[in-house]
Symmetry: C2
């Protein structure tokens, strides 16, 4: 029987609870958002005693289903003030699921100023002293815990940024190679830091594993599903070969690659940082062009990037990071960006928020555009918590406020990622309306606007964008609840057998009979629960807007502005 | 005929317009808030091209009415994101009124990066180059302009903080002694800085002066009004003798003197910083215990504070500054606080926001509580715009975010002033509901909660506080439109002839027949216009709340918490 693990950091106690019936059918984002909505006062201070940090594996995590190893983490976000779900790969989701941990809820704040670790076994959670690891980077934490607890131990950790409660601090998760995946967005590392938890170690020894109600049906569906993933040109070919960084050249061609802090739509240096160049560099240096973020991933869009001397630099080196440090900061040196990526993993900051933030920092004159070495140096200041580091660690909006910058690409104070909303209009609707603040993964219209997946909606026209974003956001909320990687959306949109196979796996796992409509309704209900939380926190439709500079600064080469009316945007919520 | 002076900084043009009929009966806050509500897009970036900065003297400014020399300045606030009106003494209101300038509206942003000055004469506004004064402190600007334009020139200026668009930058106004009064709250100096206007110089030579429709009636009413001011124990005796700093001991006794970043209600060092000590110190050193912020002030609550060597240190040395740097930062050295006050005047930051901010900075560990020399040093960093200075210059909420502090006393991101809302509950309603963010002057319930003016409402009980704050906020909005100093409220609340005399002066000035109800209705309509702007900017009743720590941290000595329900607070707006 699955259980809820609950940790009260005010009393320094832990408990195990039965799963309430109302939560039984939920997993991943559906569960974290439901728990946060039920248990967190929407107006609370995100770093105060009334916020809670919730981890929940997806409904299919721990099974043999391909790409099902994602973990959701939820709380009220210190960056946005909204509800937040951020999911990550790594080993923790599958461990949780096999150990029967439906969710881990961490509440309260300790009264003293010590650092703690949380050790999880199938029998419960134990709070342990962790002052010895305070101040350490994430790689050192993983190394220390593996040395102490064994190589198989799972690790969820925060770096110095999380300890310092910086609003762009993330939560790092050990991946199968003891490298790092991240609950990146929304500053959840600061929430973990506020609760004085440096790490969670996971010992899944003796875990009962996941029970599948109808193993034969599951196996059949899993096979169909995996085949669809491998058959689709994006998930079966583009992503495995070039990683997500395949997008640099595609977005450059489309004129939707935000460049020089969102003043241009194309980057002259795109050739030097694109997926093709990265692939060749990795191969030449003996790195791995393919790598999975969790066991059972068959897309393998990650990679291992080495330096010229053949030494490890980074993995999980994503398009959004490379776009952000690259085009948006005008840095055309991939090695500098890779080194920055490694430092961000180690100090524990969201690489998207950091990249968007550095664009604004360059606009503010803190460092010149194109200064890769300067970015590396300033990441060091963030890790040390110097005054400048504190400004930068607060994220894009915080830097904008500190320096009085007006070209600040954020929605609900979260940095706008790698796709210009003026020239890829569908994603602008997602940025504006997402319950999470600007988040491309919330409703990835790039699929249909740019990649011709699930049909085609002209990125430069307004027609159909609201519907596109709405359908994708609903579907994504549901997918984020299964533990599936978001890239299953590509085959799900194009290959007719894919989505039914996914639903069949859920039905076979739990012995239930969900229909496609049930899944859609789940997605809708998640979005509405999240939106209601935000409304009760004080958000209104005025927050569902892009920054005004998009309205009056045309972006080359198409020289288009953001031209949706308030009414058109607000129609998103008509469902 | 009064005129509207309009300056377009995008085109670098100026114009003179007739006063639209709908604005004819408005002045001060009524006029600035009306113009901002009509002409500024509520969702605009406060530092972007769509915000406007509006100055308007009060309806009685420029006349012989006692205490009528206040100038209102309005815009969308970079600190709060709300509409903002901040009024100040000095010489500008009377000059504007005598020159027939009903309002000055500054809009747009220059395309280049140069600094400009604005020179006003009765014939219009001229934009002049001002790069030579960029980076200069306010005292140096006043000195330079007096040297160039003569001693009589009026000056409105921003210091380095405004140039750097810091959210706690104020706008300084030359007073009759060439010292400084401030449009303090809400970061309006950053709006002026965003428009690249370093100063406004005012040459009122040949100004036509104010026409009074019924001089005899005016004279009679003015006499009655002035007598009421002088007869009331607060405005006629307490304030003239000890200045506003008379309140340190009173609030200490009441247990409502926020101390050590709002963790205590009494300050052990109160004797060393109180009004009585300050008065004796000023007298002993040969300073001036009485001083008016504008010509025609008969309360004279300002003073000139000298150091031990008898040299000028500061004037306009207010209770809220002394409370904030004193009790709230645990600094018991009045000379240090005076020096800090002088620096704040010079670099151009709001002394209330600064004081509340330093309490949070001390809580964050940036400097120790009680470190007066440290405050002086860090004010220097603000003036220089170091990284730490940028953090501090962003105000209380900004420092809280940069360092992950949860005890952050702000409402709508504006620092809570000198009266603890837990032990003086009426002022908590004002902080929560004011359209301006936390602002004691918006509805000064201290009068009735503590000073027994206008009756008595027990500060520790909830009964009657909402009505008290509502009535005072309505009355204050009206008074802020007359050019009157807020302290006329004391006699107005207690002496029956006072308020009718004030209305008679307005009627005599314009040849109209306002009744008391008309004035009340004006106050109500101003509040509603301001609130509507805020709603359109995205504010809701969730923003009308005090920070949650007031709910669960009792403040000694009464050990009370803030215990109003949401419904009780929201009832404020039932009028």
């Amino acid at each position: 029987m699955d259980k809820i693990f609950r940790v009260d950091m005010s009393k320094l106690t832990t408990s195990i609870e039965d799963v309430p019936a109302k939560w039984a059918g939920l997993g991943g984002r559906a569960l974290t958002s439901t728990i946060v909505a039920e248990e967190v006062v929407p107006t609370c201070h995100p770093l105060g005693p009334n916020n809670k940090l919730v981890f929940a594996p997806g409904l299919l995590s721990g099974t043999a289903a391909a790409n099902s190893g994602r973990m959701s983490c939820g709380a009220k976000s210190p960056l946005t003030g909204t509800i937040k779900e951020s999911n990550a790969g790594g080993t923790s989701a599958q461990q949780f699921a096999r150990m029967g941990i439906k969710a881990l809820i961490i509440e309260g704040l300790p009264k003293d100023d010590k650092w703690y670790g949380l050790h999880l076994t199938k029998d419960g959670a134990t709070i342990v002293a962790a002052d010895d690891l305070a101040g350490k980077g994430n790689f050192a934490v993983i190394e220390a815990l593996e040395a102490k607890l064994g190589k198989k131990t799972g690790v969820v950790t925060i770096g110095p940024a999380g300890e310092m409660k910086m609003a762009m601090a993330n939560i790092s998760v050990k991946d199968p190679d003891s490298k790092i995946r991240s609950h990146g967005r929304g500053g959840l590392g600061a929430v973990m830091g506020s609760k004085k938890i440096k790490y969670i170690s996971i010992d899944s020894e003796g875990a009962p594993g996941v029970t599948v109600a109808d193993p034969e049906k599951f196996k059949q569906a899993a096979r169909t599903f995996a085949k669809a993933l491998l058959d689709h040109p994006v998930s079966g070919e583009g992503l495995p070969t070039y990683g997500t960084n395949v997008l640099v050249n595609i977005l450059h061609e489309a004129g939707g690659l935000p460049t020089r802090n969102f003043t241009l739509g194309q980057f002259d240096g795109h050739d030097k940082i694109c997926g093709e160049t990265m692939h060749d560099t990795i191969v030449k240096r003996g790195g791995k062009p393919k790598h999975g973020c969790h066991a059972g991933c068959i897309i393998q869009c990650s990679q291992v990037y080495l330096n010229e001397q053949g030494k490890y630099v980074t993995s999980g080196f994503e398009y959004e990071t490379i776009w952000g440090m690259g085009a948006n900061c005008c840095i055309d040196n991939l090695d500098d960006i890779a080194e920055a990526d490694n430092i961000m993993d180690d100090i524990g900051v969201d690489s998207i928020e950091s990249a968007v933030m550095f664009g604004v920092a360059m606009e503010a004159g803190i460092l010149p555009f194109g200064d890769g070495k300067g970015v590396i140096r300033l990441l060091g200041e963030i890790g040390k918590g110097t005054a400048l580091g504190r400004i930068l660690g607060g994220g894009t909006g915080h830097v904008g406020k500190a320096y009085g910058v007006t070209r600040v690409p954020v929605v609900k104070n979260q940095g706008i990622p790698a796709y210009d909303p003026r020239s890829v209009k569908g994603i602008g609707i997602t940025y504006a309306t997402s319950t999470m603040g600007a988040d491309h993964t919330a409703g990835y219209t790039i699929a249909t606007n740019i990649l011709n997946v699930g049909g085609y909606v002209d990125p430069l026209k307004k027609d159909g964008q609201v519907e596109l974003s709405r359908n994708l956001q609903i579907a994504t909320a549901a997918v984020d609840s299964t533990g599936m990687c978001i890239f299953v959306a590509f085959p799900a949109l194009d290959i007719p057998e894919c989505l039914p196979a996914l639903i069949d796996m859920i039905n076979a796992r739990f012995g239930i009979n969900l229909t496609g409509d049930d899944v859609t309704n789940l997605g809708k209900s998640i979005l509405k629960i999240e939106r209601q939380f935000n409304i009760e926190a004080g958000f209104t439709n005025k927050d569902d807007r892009l920054p005004e500079f998009f309205n009056f600064e045309p972006v080359p080469p198409h020289n288009v502005v953001w031209d949706f009316s308030d009414e058109e945007i607000d129609a998103f919520w008509n469902f």
